[in-house]
Symmetry: C2
């Protein structure tokens, strides 16, 4: 790519959008400058452009994003066949086992939910398409990382902010790499309260017709409903059926 | 706003992202140029910038968005208190009445779902946060349009692509303006299969503590479960309770 093919203003603007999040829903020009590393004048122009286009609201001091910004993420969700193809299988699976079923893909060090069939909420956070979780401590993340070349998986681990969310969270890269090897051997990953106390989950890879892993499928359940040890026996057979059916469907 | 405060490359880039959708998930440079009205060279630079930053994948001919693009929409969903505040009420309401409950806001001529508690799917489309529907023929859209000054509501109607989705869809601006007046008088809107045959819904406005309408709340149900005429009696009381509770919660 030649440098002249790169639109710096566009790249900076996208960075400014990503500066807003749950902890920082309303930002001043200085906040955005600090958050993004862009100089004040550039941050200001990006924010004013967002406001002019209706993607942000400005009260003279604070900027905040408007629902128009959802058009950008929605462009992916509606344009990508994966969520649409997977959703009916998740609905059936979730009904059958009485627990939430989800599909996700990898984006950097995180997994991104692309489809979900929710039963009663068991997690403290509300997951929906677009939601993100750290890959290293999520069952779908383990499956997706296990599908990568080892050097790549390790690089992602090194780049991850590996916190011990609970006393059970595995954070050591070597331990996690061994875990990935096990996931590859057995074909699925089980998480026992590594993300949140009281939550277990099981995940397996979704492959396309050519055998490429294109997403992960999981079932999450309260540890009180199904201890981690019971998840394989209880949920894996139904998940394997979905995996087999989707292998035909995912081109 | 001075012209020098506007970053043209950023604005054009956002337009390029919005060019992708369900009907056009994979686009060439020419496609994007046609879709956006941008010249080929600009479309190309925007697309290459997206690819360079990992927001799009490029196979040498076609571009398609990657899950990284979901960060942009997610910035809104996680940064805005509304979805988080409303979700637990939707969950309770949906469980109580056994139907899907949703909250949405207005964006131009469309409503955008910001939170949803789904029961069994009854619509042909899968709604989730970020999903959009035309406002003129959706119960939440009627409520949100009814809350606007009349001239503004009429301008949005005129700008809307008012199709008769079903034989029951009201498309005439005068008829719709009368409908809005009725919605204001009675405090809720009922839709009888105007969006899709077999689907009825009822919506009411969610106001903040200062009485400003900040979103709409709805329950959608198969016409076979609850005819439009029965929705008021069946669902309105529980919805009124949520409305009252949220008036305190929405600052």
């Amino acid at each position: 790519m030649r440098e002249t093919d790169f639109i710096g203003g566009f790249a900076k603007g996208l960075k400014v959008i990503e500066a807003f999040d749950e902890a920082k829903p309303r930002l001043t020009i200085s906040d955005v400058s600090k958050e993004t590393g862009l100089d004040r004048a550039t941050a200001r122009r990006c924010l004013l452009t967002l406001a002019e286009l209706g993607y942000a609201a400005y009260d003279g001091k604070f900027f905040q994003l408007t629902p128009k910004i959802l058009r950008l993420g929605h462009a992916y969700l509606s344009a990508t066949p994966l969520p649409r193809l997977v959703q009916p299988y998740l609905d059936q699976l979730s009904d059958k086992v009485g627990q939430s079923a989800s599909a996700s893909v990898l984006d950097g060090t995180e997994i991104v939910y692309v489809a979900r069939a929710a039963q009663k909420r068991v997690m403290s956070i509300n997951l929906m398409p677009g939601s993100r979780l750290p890959a290293y401590c999520a069952s779908m993340g383990r499956v997706l990382l296990a599908a990568l070349p080892e050097a790549e998986a390790r690089a992602i681990l090194e780049a991850s902010d590996r916190r011990a969310n609970t006393p059970f969270t595995k954070t050591d890269p070597d331990v996690l790499m061994e875990e990935f090897a096990r996931v590859r051997r057995q074909g699925f990953a089980v998480i026992d309260q590594e993300l949140e106390i009281g939550l277990c989950s099981i995940a397996l890879p979704l492959e396309n017709a050519r055998g490429r892993v294109v997403a992960a499928l999981n079932i999450g359940a309260p540890a009180a409903h199904a201890a981690a040890g019971e998840m394989v026996e209880r949920y894996l057979p139904a998940m394997r059926e979905v995996q087999a059916a989707l292998r035909q469907v995912l081109a």
